[in-house]
């Protein structure tokens, strides 16, 4: 009884809200991206001014949602997938080739994925307070050898950064990864479900180091004028992550969707990334970055598995991680 009431209210609500003009462009995006504090609102405004259309973000866990919806998805464009879940996303078969030129991107790696374009990138890294830690670790061995250090990381089964660290260690140590995890384990204060809880513990002073991105200090430098947070740069190299956008093949607005994909690589969009997403834009010359981005540490070596490799090693790496940390 109550249900029929709510669904009726829902239908009514739907009827009221969809009588605008033409169909809006529906973009699936993660919560953080479209929230007031992410780059979403500015991007929406900029694109709407150009296209004379409506852009609507639909937020949530993008990938599970696409997998549930499959080919019936209402999305026209999907933004905010990342390089470690590309394979799974491609398998849904809902994405169309983007057909864009990705030769002149400003990323440390080549990009030739036919379906997805990157819009920002960064490296996974440990962030620390440079007033407290003077003897900065140069690699994982240093980190393991540090006395009295407590780090917080994220669970690779529920968090992008957690998965990133897993692949980072795997790409350096291969079969020795499990042993590295075992030795790292005493330094791990706790493992959180997502990045947010971890970073909160770090800024509260609970943990000495937190797994995040090399670009995280940019927020503190620019928004808080605080230069005490730094990323520890490891000589073994850092694992790379890009966030991606893709066009849905079944879109009922193919032109608008393509226009948005093009817009993603435009300077207007890209210049919103550094201070909207606190990461590097995928296509913006270094001199157009905010000045303080120059203060960020940059790895010498970039580590990355191909989507297919990630798919192959992920399960095994997770169980290594589980057994190492469950001891």
């Amino acid at each position: 009884m109550k249900l029929s009431f709510t669904s009726m209210a829902g239908l009514l609500f739907a009827a009221l809200s969809s009588n605008a003009q033409a169909d809006p462009l529906t973009v699936y995006a993660p919560d953080y991206f479209a929230s007031e504090w992410g780059p979403g609102p500015a991007i929406k405004a900029a694109f709407e001014a150009k296209c004379d259309c409506d852009l609507n973000f639909v937020t949530g866990d993008v990938l599970p949602r696409l997998l549930l919806e499959g080919k019936r998805t209402k999305a026209d464009v999907v933004i905010g997938l990342n390089t470690d879940v590309t394979h799974r996303a491609r398998e849904t078969g809902i994405f169309a080739n983007h057909g864009l030129n990705t030769d002149n991107l400003t990323m440390p790696i080549e990009w030739n994925d036919p379906d997805f374009i990157p819009f920002n990138w960064s490296y996974f890294a440990f962030i620390y307070d440079n007033q407290k830690i003077k003897n900065v670790p140069q690699n994982f061995e240093d980190l393991i050898a540090m006395d009295d250090i407590k780090i917080v990381i994220q669970d690779p089964r529920s968090s992008v950064t957690g998965l990133g660290l897993l692949l980072w260690i795997k790409s350096i140590y291969g079969d020795g990864a499990e042993q590295v995890w075992q030795r790292l384990s005493p330094k791990i204060l706790t493992v959180t479900q997502g990045w947010t809880e971890s970073y909160g513990m770090f800024t509260d002073g609970e943990a000495d180091m937190v797994l995040s991105f090399t670009t995280s200090p940019a927020y503190h430098l620019i928004a808080e004028d605080d230069d005490t947070k730094s990323a520890a740069i490891f000589d073994e190299g850092h694992y790379f992550m890009a966030e991606l956008a893709g066009k849905v093949a079944s879109t009922d607005q193919p032109e608008l969707a393509s226009a948005f994909m093009e817009f993603v690589l435009s300077e207007e969009f890209q210049s919103l990334i550094p201070e909207g997403n606190w990461s590097y834009p995928a296509k913006l010359e270094a001199q157009k970055l905010p000045e303080k981005f120059n203060l960020l540490g940059t790895p010498q070596k970039t580590l990355l598995y191909s989507p297919e490799e990630v798919q192959q090693i992920r399960k095994e790496a997770v169980s290594e991680w589980l057994s190492a940390l469950s001891q």
């Binding site: 109550k2 249900l3 709510t6 669904s7 209210a9 829902g10 609500f13 739907a14 809200s17 995006a29 919560d31 953080y32 479209a34 929230s35 007031e36 504090w37 992410g38 609507n56 973000f57 639909v58 937020t59 949530g60 866990d61 990938l63 599970p64 949602r65 997998l67 549930l68 919806e69 019936r72 209402k74 879940v85 799974r88 407590k150 669970d155 089964r157 998965l163 384990s185 791990i188 204060l189 706790t190 493992v191 479900q193 947010t196 809880e197 909160g200 513990m201 800024t203 509260d204 002073g205 609970e206 943990a207 995280s216 503190h220 928004a223 169980s319 991680w321 589980l322 940390l325 469950s326």
Partner: protein, 510 residues
């Protein structure tokens, strides 16, 4: 026996029970249907199941063990602020989990108040951290349940014991505890079973993974619906068995009368010990809340303007779900009372929401709704409905005894006067249950205020709730503003709880 006056209640009650079954078992069924079969239980799953049971068992045990002396101290001491303290006992229960966890870390963590002021290294992470957090959340509940037992002992019995020079503990208190404790233990065990964020965050590693968390992980990257369904089924079975035991051992309870007056005892030994218990419990419960407040205060005056719409949206959802929950609970509770002993089966259905994973409910609903309408169009009504369903078990616990009491006292008179349907509700039931009603609305409102939403599947931007806004602020590195948002959240939760609870108390006739 009194079968004449309950025609309406059985129709509405059956509809409410059907809705609960749909939202719990139905959604689980949808996920199983979509999963194309179930996988077997892996060794890792067994570990997760064992861990879930162990932590819930120990959390419930510790909560009870600490609650007994605290409840006794509160029962026999009259002091200034006693009723305020008892009201405050409701506070941890309605705190949003993520906020509370940061508060607990702020007290007991490496960099917490204790470590700083005593200058000793402490760590909250590990198995003990989970227990501390669960005791923080559930000690108040346990204390309230046990305190009710104490207050239900008639003061004449204490006088009689005193005049016979009998040992109060032996003749009155122990039998009461034997009746009350198993019940309180199982309720808390049940709540801790579905613990989600606490276990992983404070447990310190992947060995502290509960079933609910495993379900989340199965969804998140693996999108392994068969594993999620399997774990969902296991969780329902464990909880259902617990509820069955609970219903078996629960005797019709005394209605919750006021906890406002101390018990009249002739002998009141160990005053120092009592004071110690009360003071330390107060510090234990108040300190994390104090940390949250002090973290939030710096930015509270220049809160981001967009938090206000989120706050207002949250209040609407919370109120909507609270009133839905009350309506559904009333329908169920009157039906349960009218069915006498057979009502236990309906009580069982009413407890099912405790057993079902929020994530399974959300995903199941998504699967059911998606072919017909874009789920985000229904984000708000669905969030409200799911929250309403989730709080029904708590509402039933306080409504059923009160309605039973009203029916026992005035049922025959009402039958004789021909009070049936709405007139019976208005004249007999409603005035007699104002106090638990106020408590129910308050509790449901506060619980849904703090809820993160069904799951992200139904969210849409500009439609987020306050907890989601707090989370988004944290995701955008804005930790201080997030702390203020969290403070706003708990202030609103408490104020709403307090308003409704007071309304119930003010209007109670007893």
């Amino acid at each position: 026996m009194r079968r004449y006056s309950f025609k309406h209640s059985s129709i509405l009650g059956a509809a409410a029970a059907a809705l609960i079954l749909f939202m719990t078992i139905g959604t689980l069924g949808a996920v199983i249907y979509r999963a194309d079969g179930l996988t077997g239980i892996s060794a890792q799953d067994w570990h997760v199941i064992r861990f879930t049971l162990t932590q819930a068992f120990l959390s419930a045990l510790c909560s009870i063990l600490f609650a007994i002396p605290l409840a006794r101290a509160l029962a026999r001491r009259a002091f200034f602020g006693r009723s305020l303290l008892i009201s405050l006992l409701g506070a941890p229960f309605i705190l949003p989990v993520i906020v509370a966890v940061l508060g607990i870390i702020g007290v007991f963590g490496n960099n917490g108040i204790i470590a700083k002021s005593l200058n000793i290294p402490t760590s909250i992470f590990g198995f003990h951290g989970i227990i501390v957090a669960h005791v923080f959340f559930n000690l108040p509940l346990a204390t309230r349940l046990i305190l009710q037992g104490w207050q239900a002992i008639p003061s004449e019995s204490f006088r009689l014991a005193a005049s016979l020079n009998a040992d109060c503990r032996k003749v009155l208190e122990r039998p009461m505890l034997r009746a009350v404790l198993p019940n309180a233990f199982l309720v808390i065990f049940l709540i801790c079973l579905s613990s989600f964020a606490i276990a992983l965050t404070l447990g310190g590693g992947p060995k502290s993974t509960t079933i609910e968390l495993s379900i989340y992980q199965a969804f998140r990257f693996d999108f392994d619906l068969s594993k999620a369904s399997l774990l969902g089924i296991i969780q329902v079975i464990i909880c259902a068995m617990t509820v069955l035991v609970l219903l078996k051992i629960t005797k019709p309870q005394e209605p919750t009368t006021g906890l406002d007056r101390p018990v009249e005892m002739w002998e009141k030994p160990h005053p120092v010990l009592d004071v110690l218990w009360i003071v330390s419990a107060f510090i234990f419960l108040a300190a994390p809340i104090a940390v949250i407040i002090s973290d939030g205060i710096p930015q509270i005056l220049n809160l981001h303007s967009s938090l206000w719409p989120a706050a207002i949206r949250s209040i609407w959802i919370a109120l909507l779900s609270a009133f839905m929950s009350l309506f559904l609970s009333l329908c169920l509770a009157t039906w349960i009372v009218s069915l006498k002993t057979k009502g236990k089966w309906i009580e069982f259905i009413g407890a099912l929401p405790l057993a079902t994973s929020q994530l399974v409910i959300g995903t199941g609903l998504f699967i059911i709704i998606f072919p017909f309408i874009a789920p985000y169009e229904l984000a708000l009504p669905i969030t409200a409905t799911v929250n309403a369903i989730a709080t029904i078990p708590f509402c039933l616990r306080s409504l059923v005894p009160a309605i039973r009491d009203a029916e026992e006292t005035f049922g025959k008179l009402s039958d004789q006067l021909g009070l049936s349907g709405y007139a019976r509700y208005k004249i007999l039931i409603a005035p007699r249950i104002k106090r638990p009603m106020g408590f129910c609305i308050g509790l449901s409102t506060a619980l849904s205020m703090g809820d993160l939403g069904v799951i992200a599947l139904f969210a849409q931007p500009g439609g987020g709730t306050l907890p989601m806004a707090v989370y988004s602020l944290m995701s955008a590195y804005k930790m201080e503003e997030a702390a203020s948002g969290a403070l706003l959240l708990i202030l609103l939760s408490f104020v709403l709880f307090w308003i409704f609870d007071q309304w119930g108390r003010k209007n109670a006739h007893s």
